[in-house]
């Protein structure tokens, strides 16, 4: 199950995904605004159907991924409960792992939404009345567990510990980082500075900085900081502010949320 706040211009909704489907609540959790049950296929495979990956996009949509590879696009009205399923995107053949919307300014021609799956395939979309597929980056079998999109740069974390940066406009690989020794669980981006946070099962949390070379416009990444959460497999990591000066970490068997900030 997952939970995410989806910030749209007119309202904020709390979206929950589970085996049953998708539920959307008012931001304070008081009212159930909408509920979408997942269609269960006739043959049950290695897993039951589930929804995974949540993002608000295009100023009016909430996108949710499913274990069949389909991405559900919900059109959300500024108020009220008249949420409708406006489109089902069917480009992925493997279960969706994560979805991210552009958090900065998309360059011309670049998509404003990225979807990722178990095989590592990434799809770049232009949101709208009808979503358009702009780029499809084929995976190589390593699960892309987490993805972010900022200023036309896709940052993807993989199950084999790699972080890869891709050019959203062209689908070109810009950088490859041997970042972690185990499965990356979480990536987060601070839109004011381009700082990237990665958390993995190897107990490490790293802070990176994304930028563009002013002369060549090439994407660059540098390592800023490392934290080792002793004897803990990090399951969640998020910046607590848009500049990325503080971040919070959660882990397996950990009943606390650890917060890190400047000394």
């Amino acid at each position: 199950s997952q939970a995410a706040w989806c910030e749209l211009p007119a309202r904020v909704l709390l979206v929950l995904t589970s085996q049953r489907g998708v539920q959307m609540y008012e931001a304070d959790g008081s009212t159930l605004v909408f509920w979408h049950a997942l269609d269960v296929p006739e043959h049950v495979g290695a897993y039951c159907m589930f929804a995974r990956g949540i993002a608000a996009a295009g100023g009016r949509f909430i996108c949710v991924g499913t274990s069949s590879g389909a991405v559900l696009v919900f059109d959300v009205p500024p108020k009220g409960t008249n949420v409708i399923l406006s489109e089902v995107l069917e480009q992925h053949r493997d279960p969706i792992t994560d979805i991210a919307a552009e958090q900065g300014q998309a360059p011309d021609g670049a998509g404003d939404l990225v979807t990722a799956d178990d095989f590592g395939t990434l799809c770049l979309w232009k949101t709208g009345e009808e979503f358009t597929l702009l780029e499809k980056i084929p995976g190589s079998g390593y699960t892309c567990s987490s993805v972010t999109l900022w200023n036309g740069i896709v940052a993807a974390g993989y199950g084999n510990g790699q972080i890869q940066l891709w050019e959203a406009g062209t689908g070109q690989l810009c950088a490859q980082v041997s970042a972690h020794a185990r499965w990356i669980y979480a990536l987060d981006l601070a839109p004011l500075t381009g700082k990237l946070l990665s958390g993995a099962e190897d107990s490490f949390v790293h802070v990176w900085k994304l930028s563009r070379n002013p002369d060549t416009d090439d994407v660059e990444i540098q390592h800023c900081h490392a934290e080792c959460v002793t004897d803990t497999q990090v399951c969640g990591a998020r910046f607590c502010d848009p500049a990325g000066d503080t971040f919070a970490v959660t882990g397996y068997d950990l009943s606390e949320i650890l917060c890190y900030g400047p000394a």
């Binding site: 495979g45 290695a46 897993y47 490392a226 004897d231």
Partner: protein, 350 residues
């Protein structure tokens, strides 16, 4: 959650159970000629191992097990192992059975947690099965059953993706969440901390398919590498030498799931202070389980397939997981309420 978790959970826990029973039986056995009527011999030990293993790998039972389904509660699973442990002339008191189950679950929790890749859970399972084959190599009939199970495992799991294996791993970790029973063999080997948490090493070989952390490579618009930098951390990783084998026979490379017990190392568990969250454990026992009826049905189906040989007229031999009878008695009386398994009694005859 994954619906393919139960066979892996059952077989690995079963494997750990056999390691522990084998060690205890060896520690308490008497050479054949010297044994009195009420003492264990080597022959008895082999018989017990054979009986339990052949029950565990019963065809009908495994068929039920391999059907895609959710994991049931710890209580339900514990009942299956109770039945399994009593599949022979051996008897265990409640306290010993509790301790056995604690050891089994903490050992497998450790193995799942430390698996380098999600798919290495399969190698851990194969390690257990390899060892089980060693226990019964003299019985071709049972050996065949185990090989059949090997093939069924390969058929079911070898084709699953990393993502599917990670889902299985997550399902298992949720099952084991908040269990922090301290095991003396783990504490001595510095594999577990005194607070019950396992030590996660930040050195050693990286998983197969992962690069040693440190390198950053940057490419230009044409895809040509233009810059290379490095970063360092407290970790001290090296490249792995080779990948473990997923075939019927082969070097698994991974040590997780191999037998860590030997006759000379008695294994104790520590109850006191092991559950910090008393409130959450107490809740588990009070709130009625909505799945209770489903669980009972599941158990009835599963146990219905367990063909237990209980020779009539023969009295059982009691195995003690503790060093003395007094210790066992004391453990029974002092076991914290929130850690009691409250075994379900099921009559599942056909």
């Amino acid at each position: 959650m994954s619906m393919r978790t139960l066979p892996l959970l059952f077989l690995n826990l079963g494997g750990e159970m056999l390691y522990i029973l084998d060690q205890r039986l060896r520690a308490q056995s008497i050479p054949g000629e010297k044994a009195r009527k009420d003492e264990w011999t080597d022959v008895d030990r082999k018989r017990v191992m054979n009986d339990i293993i052949s029950t565990m790998f019963n065809q009908k039972f495994l068929e039920e097990l391999f059907k895609p389904q959710e994991l049931y509660s710890k209580k339900a699973l514990r009942t299956v192992y109770d039945r399994l442990a009593h599949a022979s002339i051996m008897r265990l008191n409640q306290a010993s059975m509790d301790k056995l189950y604690d050891l089994m679950t903490m050992a497998f929790k450790y193995q799942v947690l430390l698996c380098p890749r999600p798919r290495d859970i399969l190698l851990v399972t194969f390690n257990h099965l390899d060892a089980i084959k060693d226990f019964i190599y003299e019985s071709p009939g049972i050996l065949n059953q185990v090989d059949e199970t090997f093939r069924r495992l390969m058929e079911t799991y070898n084709c699953l993706s990393d993502g599917e294996f990670q889902l299985i791993r997550q399902t298992l970790l949720i099952f084991f969440q908040d269990m922090h029973i301290r095991v003396s063999i783990f504490l001595k080997d510095k594999v577990q901390n005194s607070n019950g948490r396992f030590v996660l090493p930040i050195s050693g070989p990286v998983p197969w398919g992962t690069e040693v952390p440190g390198l950053i490579r940057m490419f230009n618009h044409k895809g040509v590498e233009v810059k290379r930098t490095e970063f360092t951390t407290a970790g001290n990783y090296v490249t792995p030498q080779r990948e473990g084998s997923f075939e019927l026979y082969g070097d698994r490379v991974l040590k997780l799931g191999t037998n860590m017990y030997s006759v000379s190392r008695p294994v104790e568990t520590h109850m006191a202070g092991s559950s910090k969250n008393l409130a959450s454990h107490a809740k588990e026992n009070i709130i009625p389980n909505p799945l209770a009826k489903e669980e009972l049905n599941f158990l009835a189906r599963l146990l219905g397939g367990l063909d237990t040989h209980r020779p009539s007229g023969e009295t059982g031999f009691r195995l003690n997981l503790f060093t003395t009878d007094e210790e066992e008695e004391h453990a029974a009386q002092t076991r914290p309420e929130e850690l009691s398994y409250k075994v379900i009694n099921i009559e599942a005859t056909q």
